[in-house]
């Protein structure tokens, strides 16, 4: 099944992938999104499942149907996604981190210090191939 996994329904993963691309600007506003048949061929999935994934984004107003042409990224879609992900950030990333820190006996103060340390000097930033440190990618990771 290629790059998809078993973590959630396939249509939800398709929606998530497309949302990621909108959020990081790979799929720019006003650009045509892949059709269900294109997604089906690429991800090796049933076209109906791909259509269901696209449908999640149209119902959400992130994609717009233009009759006979296809689906296009709606104006303001990226901003809305980034805003929503910022709001979900605490629940999705911070809560599990705090839970694990608590298990390891790392208190809030020590945790904050660690966050600051990693933020200043991300692990892997000194990679020999000269790739950008993850913190330099800006809003992408939210």
């Amino acid at each position: 099944m290629g790059v998809l996994d078993d973590s959630s329904p396939i249509f939800a993963q398709i929606a998530e992938r497309l949302a990621d691309e909108i959020a990081d600007g790979t799929l720019a506003e006003g650009e045509r999104a892949p059709s269900s048949n294109e997604l089906a061929a690429f991800y090796r999935i049933n076209p109906a499942t791909a259509a269901k994934g696209l449908n999640v984004l149209t119902e959400d107003g992130l994609l717009e149907k233009r009759r006979g042409v296809g689906m296009f990224v709606a104006a303001g879609a990226r901003e809305r996604l980034v805003e929503r992900r910022r709001q979900a950030f605490a629940q999705r990333y911070v809560a599990p981190m705090v839970a694990e820190a608590t298990r390891l006996g790392i208190d809030a103060g020590a945790l904050l210090a660690l966050v600051r340390q990693v933020s200043d000097d991300p692990p892997g930033a000194a990679a020999v191939d000269g790739t950008q440190p993850s913190s330099a990618r800006g809003g992408i990771t939210v």
């Binding site: 396939i10 939800a12 076209p47 109906a48 499942t49």
Partner: protein, 298 residues
């Protein structure tokens, strides 16, 4: 809307053996369904009866609105490709030509594309082909027929992983342009998981699971951690499998988890692992069979 395939109360008995036991199931147009089950579960008998190559002992089968038995109009709109399909002693090209006369929607263009994709020599006698290549011929016929009802019964004996991938890719590509009712009986569930909209599992002649593939996938999670935590979390949920190792337990929970459930699992220090469709189907059908057995004792 009338379903493309409507089966009710279908039973098939052989001497002292019930191959299909009161099977009732419908298939709608434009869906790809995985027909799953162990060897001898009744899948082949089921498909052969749909294609009127075998007859019911009891029950009713309608394909495209009519009985398929000796019904040329229906049979021409339906193709069944079997594992180890046998062919008369002719060349590959002749097999395709004969099929093109029989199936009204036959696409010569698609057949030619598929021949190239599978690297099949049109001039070679079918008898001289390897087992895998013979399977490929069946797949070419099954896809190029573009039959409204397309039945594949483990069509890939001897096909290697690359050729199977070609089959899946071609099936998706052609199905996207020409949707039809596809039933694919297979053991290789994870390989085809993405293709399936629906899974129907047959066990000992009965349908034990009939569900949307995404529902099955989303509804099955392995939960592991300390025994008391696992048991606390699993209480009141359908549990399909439970294993313990010293103070560690792992269960398969057969109902969807909410975000609240996930947060709670984190608090309890539990690990949640989604199951693959194949694992989910195995557990779900075992669970369903268990419930049935309990129900019948009640």
């Amino acid at each position: 809307m009338t379903p493309t395939i409507a089966v009710s109360g279908l039973t098939r008995r052989y001497r002292g053996h019930v191959a299909l036991d009161d099977v009732t199931v419908d298939f709608e147009d434009a869906t790809i369904t995985g027909l799953l089950g162990r060897n001898g579960a009744g899948k082949t008998t089921f498909l052969r009866i749909l294609a009127a190559q075998e007859f019911p002992s009891a029950g009713d089968v309608r394909v495209l609105g009519a009985s398929p038995i000796e019904n040329d109009a229906v049979l021409r709109r339906m193709v069944l490709i079997r594992e180890d399909q046998s062919y008369p002693d002719i060349r590959v090209g002749h097999v395709l030509r004969a099929a093109s006369w029989f199936y009204p929607n036959w696409s010569g263009e698609l057949a030619a594309t598929l021949l190239r994709a599978f690297d099949l020599p049109a001039g070679r006698p079918v008898k001289k082909l390897s087992r895998g290549m013979r399977s490929a011929v069946g797949i070419v016929v099954g896809l190029a027929a573009r039959a409204e009802v397309t039945l594949f019964d483990e069509p890939y004996a001897g096909l290697d992983a690359v050729a199977r991938q070609i089959f899946y890719d071609q099936l998706i590509a052609d199905y996207a342009e020409h949707p039809r009712t596809v039933l694919l009986s297979t053991h290789l569930i994870d390989e085809v998981a993405g293709l399936l909209e629906r899974v129907v599992m047959i066990d000992r002649g009965r349908v034990v699971l009939d569900a949307d593939a995404d529902t099955v996938r989303g509804a099955t999670t392995a939960v592991s951690g300390a025994v008391p935590a696992v048991d606390t979390f699993a209480a009141g949920r359908p549990v399909w499998d439970r294993r313990t190792l010293a103070s560690h337990a792992s269960v398969v929970v057969g109902s969807p988890l909410t975000d609240g459930d996930r947060a709670w699992a984190r608090e309890l220090n539990l690990t949640l692992t989604p199951l693959s469709l194949q694992q989910a189907v195995v557990h779900a059908s075992a669970g369903a069979a268990g419930e049935r057995a309990e129900g019948s004792h009640a």
